[in-house]
């Protein structure tokens, strides 16, 4: 390929990449073309060509700058926000789904609407501690540390959160502020009575778990199980009757040191112990086993 043809080809590439919105590739092709033109002093209309290519590079750069300046998470229309809430809530439980929807709004940067939803949940008393923590997180991201602190102070004079819950929000907010390198004087809450502290933990719904099988024929394998029932820290998962090797690996008393529990507020690591199993006698899962696991550390 002659130098002239190479220049022509590079300019064409630059144009097509630009059409494809592959702006960096477009700029690169134009720059290569420009280098070739500049290095060839005998090229007819050299000065004019240089001017034209420089103009094209300028347009590409303007487009790149425009893209750079666009907000990553613009405020969406109400319709789109509702779509996000609906499509990114997976739980069949209405309250959990409402939580997931609010979480999705926050994750897509729709903080104002997410805040509104979390406030509604808090008012209804649905997982109040989790709602409050999410409000704090949203406020720190969307508004300012001062707004988050003001919100906490407001709660201390209201009765939407119990004292142990307020204490936990205080600790949470303090840790977030410290991560930002800020030290704030947050008004303390009266020390909760013994036993009150654990109040909220039972509220966290675990929807599924993953764990590494510690012993038996499937030792070392990681499996995911959906939680069928939960009472406090005890969960029940279904294991199909034909999964005999799995049942052999998960005998009563087996310690499970590596469990990840998934909940609407994210996931947490834990450990636990197999409490026992019962065979399901009726319904579509008749013959399968219900395995009870006590989760004992989070």
């Amino acid at each position: 390929m002659s130098e002239k043809e190479a220049i022509k080809s590079l300019i064409k590439q630059g144009e097509l990449y630009f059409k494809q919105s592959l702006l960096n590739q477009s700029k690169e092709a134009y720059q290569k073309a420009l280098e070739l033109i500049e290095s060839n002093e005998k090229l007819p209309n050299r000065e004019k060509l240089i001017q034209v290519i420089q103009g094209k590079i300028k347009v590409v750069e303007e487009n790149l700058n425009e893209l750079e300046a666009e907000p990553d998470q613009p405020e969406l229309s109400e319709e789109l926000q509702k779509l996000i809430q609906k499509r990114f809530a997976f739980s069949k439980n209405e309250e959990t789904a409402a939580f997931e929807g609010a979480m999705a709004l926050a994750k897509f940067g729709q903080y104002e609407q997410a805040l509104e939803e979390f406030h509604k949940l808090l008012k209804k008393g649905v997982m109040p501690l989790v709602a409050a923590k999410n409000i704090i997180t949203c406020m720190l991201t969307y508004a300012s540390p001062d707004a988050a602190i003001a919100q906490y102070i407001q709660w201390t004079s209201q009765d939407v959160l119990s004292k142990p819950q307020l204490n936990q929000v205080r600790v949470y907010l303090k840790s977030l502020l410290e991560k930002k390198g800020m030290k704030a004087e947050l008004p303390p809450v009266i020390k909760p009575k013994k036993g009150e502290e654990e109040e909220e933990e039972a509220v966290i719904d675990i929807s599924s778990i993953t764990m590494t099988i510690p012993e038996g024929p499937r030792k070392g394998e990681t499996i995911e199980l959906d939680v069928s029932f939960q009472m406090d820290n005890n969960i029940s998962v279904v294991i199909a009757a034909d999964q005999k090797d799995l049942l052999k690996s998960l005998k009563t008393g087996t310690r499970l040191t590596d469990i990840q529990c998934y909940s609407p507020i994210g996931f947490f690591n834990g450990s636990g112990m197999v409490l026992g199993r019962t065979q399901i006698q009726e319904g579509p899962k008749k013959g399968d086993y219900l395995l009870d696991i006590a989760i004992d550390a989070g």
Binding site: L16, S21, L22, Q25, E66, I84, F88, F90, A104
Partner: protein
Amino acid sequence: MANFNLKQRVIECKIVYYGPGRGGKTTNLEYVFKAFRKYTSGDMVSIDTKGDRTLFFDFLPMGLGKIRGCDVMLQLYTVPGQQKYSSTRKMVLKGVDGVVFVADSLEVRRKANLLSLKDLQQNLKEMNLSIFKLPLVVQYNKRDLAEEGMPIMSEEQMEQDLNSKLKVPSFTASALKGDGVWPTLKECIKLTMINLNKELKWAG
């Protein structure tokens, strides 16, 4: 994971178009929306930037009619391909039943294809899903650009780069013209349905 309403005999499943930015994921969906209106059950929703880059996702609901006595509702999504939207991709992948990986045939996008496939594998792994087990179809898009003299990779090279380990069905396509769009989606739907039937056992 698909949503199976046993009482109403309705299955809702989710197929996600994944791939590098500007590779043609949205164009695939636009073509499906335009050409297969009778299967769509609502408008296509796009949340994009001024430069037509997908910002959060595109969404297209479809109804496939009855399969073995069950109404099958399909939700098609695209993810934002740009590298910076990693957390959004994870969100969109949640609950996925099948994936169409749209690779860009342009030579300059070779690395972007590989990075995106790796990103898909990693994100699936974080959800305890395996790229080797999930219904997956690969599409080599923008084949028409060869006619315009653009340097594109050969099908063999793309197959070697992206599919030598996966060994999943692959299709060449020009989404802008509609070539290869339906065969790609049809195969992904087929694989997804087979897989779901193994799990839900509704069709015997």
